[in-house]
Symmetry: C2
Subunit: 390 residues, 2 copies
C-alpha cells in the first residue's frame, strides 16, 4: 500500500424526507445563497419548491442561477460568479447532478478571485479559498456530492477539463433516493456506467498491487452498480435499487477507493471528455463506448488485473482454470454486453461518430492527457484505443 | 437501506515516515498538549522521542500523561482531566492503541465540564464541546483513531462502558504501519479479532437486509483482517501485511460499514466487556471467546445471514448447494478454528474462567445491555450464550 492522506469532511444526509434539511444546513454557513440548478424539471417535480421553502424558512435569501447544461459550460459558471460578486452572496446551494454540483464548485472558487476561473482548470492558478457549498443530489452518477473534484467544459476552446482541491468538498450533501425515481432509463444507466468507470479507472491504473482492502471495496461497488441499476430499470420506484445505486456512485469517487493505490490515472475519462466536448454526448454514454475499447487495449499488457476483477464479480468469466487472457476477454465481453443490455452505447458508430474523426478526437484528448500528466498516452495510443471502441 | 447521517471529518495521514507530521498537525489546534500514552515501550522504541521532537519543533508545549492500561481506567482519565484544568492545556495528543485514544477522548470531553466524566458513559450527561485531539496509532485494532466512540472501565464499579459523540472524532490521526512491526503475535491477533468483531456486530445485527453495498465492504474487511493478520504473524515486518491490517481495522469501525443498516447492536462486545472488566483479559482475547458462542446462538434463528457471509468469503463453507444451517455451522467452525490457529482463546476454560462464574458475568453484562438498549438480552439469554463459549 502506498502512503496517502484521506480527508473527507462532507456530511451526508441520506434517505427519505431529508430535503427539508437543506435550509438549516445552508443557514449554518451563510444568509444569501446562489441557487444553482439545471433544467426546469426540478420545478415541475416540486423539488425546487421544497428546496426554496426550506431555505426561506431558515431565513436564507435566494438568488437564482438555473440553466446548467449536462457537460456544464464555463460561460454559465462565469455568469454565476458575476451574480455572487454583485449580490454579496456568501453560500452556494446546488440542486442537481454532477454537472450542477461541479458548476457550483467552480463558482464557489471563482467568486473569491479576480482572475478567470478557467485558470484553475488549465493549471495556471491554485485555489486558496472557496465559498461554502451545500447540495441536493438528483442523479446517482458523478460522485461530486462527496468529493473535491469538478469538471467544466470551456465553450470557447471546446476543452472539457477537470480539477480537484480539498476546499471544494461540499459542507453537506443531501441524498434522497426518492428524488431519482423520475430519472429516465437512459440517464439511470449512464449514471451507473459513470460510477463503474470511476472504480475501473483506479482499479486498473493503481501503481501498487498490494491493496486487497481497496480491491474488495472496488469489486463490491462495481457489482452493486450493475445489480442496483438493473433493479432501477426493472422498477424505477424500487427504493432500495435507487438507494444502493446512489450510495454506490457516491462511494465510487469519494477518495476511499483511491486511498493507498499510489498514482492513479483517468485515461478512460481523458478520452471520453473529448467525445462529450466535441459531440455533446452524455458523459456516461461516452464512457460505455470508451471502457471496452480501453480495456481491450489494456488487456494486451495487463490481462491479470482484468482477470482478477472478473474472477471476483463475474462467476461466468472463470468457468474452469482458464488463462488470465481468456478470463480478461470474457470479463470485458460481460461488461460490454451489460452496457448493451442497459442501452448505453458501446461503439462510436452507435452515436454517429465516423472512424475518420478518430485523429481529431485523439488530438483533442491529447491536450487533456498533458494536463492530467498521462504521459504514456501519445496521439497514436489514443487512436489505437479509439479504433477498439466498436 | 435505512436513512443515515455519515460525517467523518478525521484526517488520516497513512504510511511510512508520517510521524513527523504530528507537530504541525497538533500546532494547528493548540500550543500546550497533554501527551497521553501507555506503557514505557514507546520510550524504548524511540517513538516517544520522535513525537516529542516533532511537537517541540512545532513549538507545542508538552505535559506528560503516560500510564494508560489496556482496558483503560476511569481513575487515570480523571487524573488527566485535572492536569488539563490545572495547566491551561488546549489540545490532546494520544500515542497508542484504542485504550490510549479512548482515554484521550474522555479527557478531551471531561476537561471542559465541571461534573465527573463518567456521567457521559452512564448516560446522565451529553457532550457539548471537546478539546481538539490528534493521534499517533500504534496498534491495528479498535478503530478509535477514525471514529467518535470511546470505552472506559470504571475501576470503582467494575463497569466497562462505551459512549459516542460526533465531537469525539480526532482532528488528525497518523497511521504508520511500520510502528506496528513490534506488536507481538498475541496482540496482533487480538487486534484482528477486534476488527472482525466490529464488522460482525453490524453485519449480523443490521435491521435492514437490503444493504448489498455495505455487505460487500464488510465481507471484504473480514476477509482482509484474516489474510493480513496471517501475513503479519508469518513475518512481523511485512509492510503490506501490517498496512492492510491497519487500514482494515480503521475502516471496520469508522461509520462507513454501519451507515444505512438502521439500528445495529454490539451484543458480542456487551458480553466481552464483562469478561475484560471482571477478569482483565485483553479485549480481543475476550472477543474470540464470545464470537463463536454468540454466532452459535444466533444461528438458531438466523442461519441465512451467517451463511451469506460464509458463501462470500469462505469457499469451503459452501461445498455444494447446502442448507443455510449447514453453511452457517461451517462458517462458525472456520472462524473458530482460525481464532485457534492465531492463538486467540475460544473458550472460557482457556482463560481459566469457571462455568460457575457464568451467572456473575451475565449479571455484569446485563447492566451494559440496559445502557446500550439491547432490550432482547435477558440474564438467561446471556447465560445461554456464555454456555456456548466453549
Amino acid at each position: 500500500m502506498q502512503n496517502f492522506v484521506f480527508y473527507n469532511p462532507t456530511k451526508i444526509l441520506f434517505g427519505r424526507n431529508t430535503i427539508s434539511s437543506i435550509g438549516p444546513e445552508t443557514a449554518a454557513w451563510g444568509s444569501h445563497a446562489l441557487l444553482v440548478y439545471g433544467k426546469s424539471s426540478i420545478k415541475q417535480s416540486g423539488l425546487y419548491e421544497q428546496v426554496t421553502s426550506s431555505l426561506q424558512a431558515a431565513e436564507v435569501e435566494i438568488t437564482d442561477h438555473g440553466g446548467v447544461f449536462s457537460n456544464p459550460l464555463l460561460s454559465h459558471v462565469q455568469t454565476g460568479i458575476e451574480k455572487v460578486k454583485q449580490n454579496d452572496i456568501d453560500v452556494i446551494v446546488a440542486v442537481g447532478g454532477g454537472s450542477v454540483i461541479d458548476s457550483a464548485k467552480a463558482i464557489s472558487a471563482g467568486a473569491l478571485v479576480e482572475h478567470d476561473v478557467w485558470k484553475f482548470f488549465s493549471g495556471k492558478k491554485s485555489i486558496k479559498k472557496t465559498l461554502p457549498l451545500t447540495t441536493v443530489l438528483t442523479l446517482a452518477a458523478a460522485g461530486s456530492e462527496m468529493n473535491s473534484g469538478m469538471v467544466i467544459t470551456n465553450d470557447s476552446t471546446r476543452e472539457k477539463f477537470g480539477f480537484g482541491h480539498q476546499m471544494l468538498h461540499p459542507k453537506t450533501s443531501i441524498l434522497d433516493p426518492e428524488i431519482t425515481y423520475t430519472v429516465p432509463p437512459d440517464y439511470t444507466a449512464y449514471g451507473a456506467v459513470d460510477a463503474i468507470a470511476h472504480v475501473l479507472e483506479f482499479y486498473m491504473t493503481a501503481s501498487d498491487p498490494e491493496t486487497p482492502v481497496q480491491d474488495r471495496i472496488m469489486e463490491g461497488l462495481i457489482e452493486n452498480a450493475i445489480t442496483a441499476c438493473n433493479r432501477c430499470l426493472e422498477n424505477p420506484t424500487d427504493y432500495n435499487g435507487r438507494a444502493n445505486l446512489m450510495w454506490t456512485s457516491t462511494l465510487a469517487l469519494n477518495g476511499l477507493t483511491a486511498a493507498g493505490l499510489g498514482r492513479v490515472g483517468f485515461p478512460m475519462h481523458m478520452i471520453e471528455h473529448s467525445l462529450s466536448a466535441l459531440y455533446d454526448i452524455p458523459h456516461g454514454a461516452g464512457l460505455s463506448i470508451v471502457i471496452p475499447g480501453w480495456l481491450k487495449w489494456f488487456s494486451k499488457t495487463h490481462p491479470a488485473r482484468i482477470a482478477s476483477l472478473g474472477k471476483r464479480i463475474f462467476p461466468s468469466a472463470d468457468i474452469e482454470e482458464d488463462s488470465d487472457e481468456l478470463v480478461a476477454t470474457r470479463t470485458i465481453t460481460i461488461l460490454h454486453n451489460w452496457f448493451g443490455r442497459v442501452n448505453s452505447p458501446t461503439s462510436l458508430e452507435e452515436v454517429d461518430i465516423p472512424q475518420s474523426d478518430i485523429p481529431r478526437i485523439a488530438e483533442n484528448a491529447l491536450a487533456l492527457a498533458k494536463v492530467w500528466r498521462l504521459t504514456n498516452y501519445t496521439a497514436e495510443t489514443i487512436e489505437e484505443i479509439l479504433h477498439l471502441c466498436r
